[in-house]
């Protein structure tokens, strides 16, 4: 650690009560090779400017709170180190493709609606009863959906997605991967209900398979793959429901 060294953070600032438009503010922070970008933001807030506003909690890459644009790329700020950028300045901005609430805090309203829309819970016909013990699920059946269950809702994939920014109907990578996760779960019987949501308009078809969502995912989920698989299922279903006439024996 060399506390005499410093580096510069250029931070996006916007306050809805006082600012007409966003601006950037430069802060000089101590350079510590063990520090992540989040540590530098916290140091600024504690010691220099208490009005700087950002979200964080676990600082170990699992709560999903601290996603921001770091030099233009969507990152968890608890997982990128100052040393990866030193001595160049680091530009920190709120995640793109989301409305900004204040400074580095974006609105989750639309994202939460999309998560809820895909019915991300087990749907079954039978009555919920625990007396018969657990539902059996083989390791192979678990492997069918496990990686899609690893999403931490950090929303980096929405910031990376060229469609999510301008197509409101598009449910987006995380929500579609989550819907797919339940569709692939051997304990679930709710695929038809979910497809009712996913096959509407641009909900899933909006995806143009750029694949940036998978590239930026800090938890190695493959939303692009999930969307492609779900589209294939959806195409069959779409054909059954809307293209093939009833009783055509498809």
């Amino acid at each position: 650690m060399s506390t005499e060294l410093t580096m510069t953070l250029e931070v996006f600032r916007y306050h809805p009560e006082t600012d007409h438009e966003p601006r950037f503010q430069a802060y000089e922070v101590p350079y510590d090779e063990d520090w992540v970008v989040l540590d530098a933001l916290n140091w600024i807030k504690d010691h220099v400017d208490g009005s700087l506003t950002h979200r964080w909690s676990c600082r170990m890459g699992v709560c999903g709170s601290c996603g921001m644009m770091v030099n233009g790329d969507p990152k968890l700020t608890c997982a990128v180190f100052l040393k990866d950028y030193y001595p160049r300045p680091i530009k920190v901005e709120p995640l793109v493709n989301f409305p900004v609430e204040r400074d580095l805090v974006v609105s989750l309203d639309g994202f939460m609606d999309k998560l809820e829309a895909v019915k991300p819970y087990i749907i079954r016909d039978d009555v919920n009863d625990t007396s018969g013990g657990e539902y059996l699920q083989s390791p192979a059946e678990l492997a069918q959906y496990k990686q899609y269950s690893m999403c931490i809702n950090c929303m980096l994939c929405y910031a990376a997605c060229p469609v999510a920014g301008h197509e409101d109907e598009f449910l987006g990578p995380a929500a579609l991967a989550l819907g797919h996760r339940y569709n692939k779960d051997s304990r679930d019987q709710g695929q038809a209900e979910r497809l009712d949501v996913m096959l509407v308009g641009e909900a899933i078809w909006g995806c143009t398979f750029v694949g940036e969502c998978t590239v930026v995912c800090p938890k190695h989920v493959d939303p692009a793959g999930a969307i492609q698989q779900a589209k294939a299922v959806g195409a069959q279903e779409f054909f059954k429901r809307f293209v093939a006439p009833k009783g055509a024996g498809v």
């Binding site: 979200r55 909690s57 600082r59 170990m60 204040r102 657990e134 678990l142």
Partner: protein, 601 residues
């Protein structure tokens, strides 16, 4: 703070982590006509349950028994747990865990499709369900996603509750909460309230706990006159990464990892924790022994090794090594992949090739809001569950993997009892509660938005002093002098707290204001911890006094009860007997054959 609108529901839950979400579902499912409010300072999936790694205990396998889970829990607690509560907990645990399985939690599986279990510290038989090493993450997300099924659960995300609202009949009827987006203070009213706000590890500087774990719910209850129970019992987890305090799960030892000192020696064998079997011995890792001893003992052994000069000095303090190399890459990647990811990212170590540096780290508060075996506090209509509550099943030391199960069992129980209270006590006066919430908004505005006060102390100054005082005074080993010093510093900080000033006097998303309010919670909780600790002149479980080194059942087989005094003077400490049913206090032994049978049983 602008006065916000009033919102009415049947039951109000403060906190959206594991316990709060389980309580929400319990009420929503059993009372479809009820409206349940879930008020949380963060979005539920950010709650700290998310970071739990190793697993959740419940008897499921035929080689295990409820009796063994009960005995492991009670002996692990150094007999400070209430045995009726432990029995209820252990009996309910299997169905709660199966319920979560039915709700989609992706538990790791055996080849036959049944859920897999692993051993944890202090356990006679392996009974820890796990989802690789992201158990808390999967439990939290499964619960949160399941809540989305219920139209009668209304979320107040990013609402910071600051005060409980108590009606003229002394019943708790809601909370005042700052809506972070607008800064307005809302009255969120209901017929009953459950606090599920988690622990308070942030009282200490070096903790596994995320920034949100500031004991707000504990402090709110304390200020409302509810006792904080057994607050002197703070769990240090033996294996945190130096520098960050990030947790390396006990599952790494459950899978066979070993702890060695600077000489490469498995030092735990010198501390009555059993024999160091070779890692290639099929009996390794031995349950209730060595690396699978209880957390309090392992953390204490570290300090003794440090005193003996056998730890390794680093720029982030002294460490020992957690060696996983003999497990091999395939097993590490299958069973504890997150351990590898965290070690690589935050310690620059790949545990496949190198041992991980670790040191004890504040992890869990055994104490909390005093509740009875129905999760009810002394204030009618007010309940608490999860880490913020103290039933107590954890006593003087919690067993690893009991806390996640506790969220489910007592979250559900608190939900059911609160719902019943709401049905039986439906009527309250809205205007008197609204007036309290308006008062609360005015109080916050006066305390923090007075722009004539400038250049007071910064939040970080007081927080750092609090951290130092608690680490130095109330750490793994304490004595009267160190605790007296901690008590004095906390009192000094309480006085200076009023003169802290903020840079930010605006309304929208004022996280400097919430940090100031959190600091207030930390001071309250630290006060209860330090004063409870100085009064307990014995050593038991995680509370180790260098000036009173023995357990003293004659005087202290009792829960401490810290009562807040509104005038700011030190809390009143009282004691309440521990409930002992079938397991009289015995010697707490670990090592070969311990807990199987013998004189302590």
């Amino acid at each position: 703070m602008a006065h916000g609108t009033t919102h009415e529901h049947d039951v109000i839950i403060i906190g959206g982590g594991g316990a709060g979400l389980r309580a929400s579902i319990a009420i929503a499912e059993e009372n479809p006509d009820f409206s349940v409010a879930c008020v949380s300072k963060v979005y539920p999936m950010r709650s700290h349950t998310v970071t739990a790694e190793g697993g959740a205990a419940a008897k499921i396998k035929p080689n295990d028994s409820l009796e063994d889970h009960i005995y492991d829990t009670i002996s692990g607690a150094d007999w400070l747990a209430d045995q009726d509560a432990v029995e209820y907990f252990v009996n309910e645990a299997p169905s709660e865990m199966i319920q979560l399985e039915h709700w989609g939690c992706p538990w790791s599986r055996e080849p036959d499709g049944s859920v897999a279990v692993r051993p944890f510290g202090g356990m006679k038989i392996e009974r820890t369900w796990f989802a690789a090493d992201k158990t808390g993450f999967h439990m939290l997300h499964s619960l949160f996603q399941t809540t989305l099924k219920y139209g009668n659960i209304v979320r107040y995300d990013e609402h910071f509750a600051t005060r409980l609202l108590i009606d003229g009949n002394g019943r708790c009827r809601g909370c005042a909460a700052i809506e972070l987006r607008t800064g307005s203070v809302r009255a969120i009213l209901g017929k009953a309230v459950i606090i599920c706000t988690g622990g308070a590890g942030r009282v200490f500087p070096f903790t596994t706990n995320g920034s949100i774990k500031t004991g707000d719910g504990m402090a709110m209850a304390y200020r409302a006159g509810v006792a904080l129970k057994d607050m002197e019992f703070i769990q240090y987890h033996p294996t945190g990464l130096p520098g960050t305090g990030i947790l390396i799960t006990e599952a790494s030892r459950g899978e066979g990892g070993i702890l060695v000192n600077k000489d490469g020696y498995r030092y735990l064998q010198d501390y009555e924790l059993g024999e160091a079997l070779d890692v290639s011995d099929p009996r390794h890792p031995q349950k209730r022994a060595m690396e699978l001893g209880p957390r309090d003992r392992l953390s204490q052994c570290f300090i003794k090794e440090k005193w003996a000069g056998r730890t390794i000095e680093t720029k982030d303090g002294h460490v020992v090594h957690l060696d996983l190399r003999h497990l091999g890459e395939a097993k590490i990647d299958k069973k504890i992949p997150f351990v590898r990811e965290l070690s690589r990212n935050y310690a620059g170590i790949d545990p496949v090739y190198k041992p991980i540096p670790v040191r004890p780290v504040v992890h869990y508060v055994m104490g909390g809001i005093d509740v009875d075996s129905n999760s009810a506090t002394s204030v009618p209509g007010l309940y608490a569950a999860g880490e913020c509550a103290c039933v107590s099943i954890n006593g003087a030391n919690r067993l690893g993997s009991n806390s996640l199960t506790e969220l489910l069992v007592f979250g559900a129980q608190a939900g059911r009892h609160a719902a019943r209270f709401a049905m039986d006590n439906p009527d309250y006066d809205v205007s008197e509660l609204e007036a309290q919430a308006e008062d609360e908004g005015a109080r916050i505005r006066r305390a923090w938005f007075d722009t004539s006060r400038r250049n007071g102390e910064r939040i970080v100054t007081l927080r750092t002093e609090l951290h130092d005082a608690m680490e130095n005074g109330a750490g793994i080993y304490r004595n009267a002098d160190s605790l007296q010093s901690a008590c004095e510093t906390v009192a000094d900080l309480r006085a200076r707290y009023r003169s802290v000033t903020l840079d930010d006097h605006t309304n929208s998303f004022n996280t400097e204001l919430t940090a100031a309010l959190e600091l207030g919670s930390l001071i309250d909780v630290a006060e209860a911890m330090a004063h409870s600790a100085i009064e307990r002149t014995e050593s038991r479980g995680s509370h180790q006094r260098l000036d009173h080194t023995e357990r003293n059942d004659d005087d202290f087989l009792a829960h401490s009860m810290a009562y807040h005094r509104p005038d700011g003077s030190p809390p009143r400490i009282e004691y309440k007997p521990v409930t002992i049913t079938k397991w009289p206090p015995g010697a707490r032994t670990y090592g070969a054959g311990s807990g199987l049978k013998g004189e302590d049983r």
